[in-house]
């Protein structure tokens, strides 16, 4: 008697279908921290689709997942606090395009960026920053983003930032059910999906609802806000997916080298994105040895 026969609707989509939600000119929120937990497979898929003129909003640090979009010509503008490949080195396309004047960079700091996202998540018109940022260079460079109001309680001047509201956010997690309840194993970047108009979750594994319920206090992605769930094993490769696999250091070094030059990066894209026409073909190209290397926690060094 407790069921009407109508079933709860799955939000699961194939990668190719979910990628169609990304339209030219969108503001796209990119999950991940450095190259960890980035929706890398999703980024490669929208490159294949030839998406243009994106504005990228990363959740603070971003790496491969954003740099590859830059190198593939998908991006017009980017909000930044950090773009880089962690200890591997600079994000090569970011640096090259910036230094040749081909990239519109909204030069923020972490606090400005994340408080802009919080303002959006909270549905408020701006967010005040702590004292100590007044007249600092990020503020001077972005007079349209950092503004000053008078604190009505003390008369003190306070810097505030406006809401940043991506049209669509893409977040990679280790586990998510078909209804969008997702679990981040490591760091918690739930802020991005609360701040965005649409949300795509890519996940290493689609888990049954029962698994969600058995671990409900670990759910960090609020399923109701999720528009599509995409199962993409190794979806963060060559970045790390917390709880699943490590960074593919060898691949990232290759990537980093290729990206320093337009020609060599085109060759990289040809090999790993265009000729590898889908995610499975990409993984084939990376090869079993490459994938297995990311499963070994203790590599290199005497303990390993």
């Amino acid at each position: 008697m407790e069921s009407c026969g109508k079933k709860r609707k799955s939000k699961v989509l194939p990668l190719e279908e979910a990628a169609k939600l990304v339209e030219d000119g969108m503001m796209l929120g990119m999950g991940g921290c450095n190259s960890h937990m980035g929706p890398s497979a999703f980024a490669r898929e929208i490159i294949r689709r030839g998406v243009k003129d994106l504005t990228i909003v990363p959740t603070n640090n971003t790496g491969y997942q954003t740099d590859i979009l830059l190198g593939a010509g998908c991006v017009k503008s980017i909000y930044i606090s950090y773009v880089g490949l962690d200890y591997i080195g600079p994000a090569p396309n970011f640096r090259r395009l910036a230094e040749t004047g081909q990239l519109d960079i909204v030069e923020l700091d972490e606090m400005g960026l994340l408080r802009g996202l919080k303002a959006s998540a909270a549905g408020v018109d701006f967010f005040p920053l702590p004292g100590g940022i007044m007249g600092v260079d990020v503020v001077k460079l972005n007079p349209e983003f950092f503004k000053t109001v008078e604190d009505p309680f003390t008369g003190k001047k306070v810097v505030v930032v406006p809401p940043i509201r991506p049209d669509l956010a893409v977040i990679h997690v280790s586990k998510c059910d078909a209804y969008g309840n997702g679990r981040e194993a490591g760091h918690v970047q739930d802020l991005l999906h609360f701040a965005s108009n649409k949300v795509i979750v890519t996940t290493e594994e689609i888990v049954p609802l029962e698994d969600t319920m058995a671990n409900y206090t670990d759910v960090t992605i609020f399923g109701r806000l999720v528009d599509a769930v995409v199962e993409v094993p190794y979806g963060a490769h060559p970045g790390e997916c917390h709880g699943c696999y490590q960074m593919d250091e060898a691949h990232l070094k290759k990537y980093q080298k290729a990206g320093r030059d337009e020609t060599t990066f085109k060759a990289y894209l040809d090999e790993y994105v265009y000729k590898a026409q889908n995610h499975e073909a990409y993984l084939d190209k990376v090869g079993i040895a490459g994938l297995l290397s990311t499963l070994t926690y203790h590599k290199g060094g005497k303990n390993e």
Partner: protein
């Protein structure tokens, strides 16, 4: 509806549950507060009957899509974490209320409700020494922010339905047309949609924003409704009977209320 068989042995709270549950749409997100037995049942019935994708947050217990089997007195009860799909922090609950993507509806009450659907949960008289002290505004300012809200009551009396509340804890239409705009409510926030009581249902006149009798529950009369109110609502020429719970609805309602709390709630 001609082939639908209606029940006649329901209690007042059960017709209220049935009415509300029909108005909750699939894929929406509802939020319920404390002392919200009727909305809880309505959500569970809607999920089972026509809205399997309806999400709900039980505010006081912080659980999302609780699957606890039966109605409890308190929505802060830990049992409402049974079958939950996540839990949310108080800070996120606040975010949800301002965020245009988040909550579709909430259900609220008060110890005073006025003709514009404003609610008072705070006090009557001088705040420093009130004639009557209520528990406080709680989260019902949300009626200013959410896409829509429902007002529900456990009884009807002229002291409950007043011309003008002494204090607005939950904004309805404030002082009438344009009232919500004046306080800065977002344009997507329609305000209170229905007032659901043990003997009748009201909506609000599109033009004047005054409470309007929409239907009277079977066994009750317009005169009775009027006599239990401190102001006269708009009464259209034809006021239909509220559709009673169907047999299917009633069976479902009772499956969620095996301890029969609903009959105790509204007598």
């Amino acid at each position: 509806m001609s082939s639908v068989s209606h029940a006649n042995n329901y209690c007042p709270a059960e017709i209220m549950v049935a009415f509300l549950s029909r108005d909750f749409n699939d894929s929406e997100l509802g939020v319920i507060g404390a002392f919200s037995q009727i909305p809880w049942c309505a959500i569970r019935v809607a999920q089972a009957l026509h809205a399997p994708n309806l999400w709900f947050v039980c505010g006081p217990s912080a659980s999302v899509n609780s699957k606890y089997e039966k109605l409890l007195w308190s929505t802060t009860d830990y049992r409402l974490h049974v079958g939950a799909e996540s839990r949310i922090s108080l800070d996120t609950v606040m975010d949800m209320q301002g965020n245009p993507r988040f909550i579709d509806f909430g259900c609220y009450g008060g110890f005073q409700i006025d003709k514009y659907g404003n609610l008072n949960m705070a006090f009557i008289g001088d705040q420093k020494k009130p004639k009557f002290r209520g528990p406080g505004t709680v989260g019902i300012m949300a009626t200013a922010w959410l896409r829509r809200s429902y007002i529900f009551t456990h009884f009807m009396s002229p002291r409950l339905f007043v011309e003008k509340v002494d204090f607005i804890s939950g904004p309805g239409f404030m002082d009438g047309p344009g009232g919500r705009e004046k306080i800065g409510s977002p344009s997507y926030s329609e305000g209170p949609r229905y007032v659901v009581t043990p003997i009748a249902i009201f909506d609000f006149d599109e033009e004047t924003k005054v409470m309007r009798l929409k239907s009277v529950h079977p066994g009750h009369t317009i005169e009775e409704v009027k006599s239990r109110m401190g102001f006269t609502p708009i009464i259209p020429d034809k006021v239909p009977e509220t559709e009673p719970p169907t047999e299917v609805e009633l069976e479902l309602i009772r499956s969620f209320d095996p301890d029969r709390l609903l009959p105790l709630l509204v007598r």
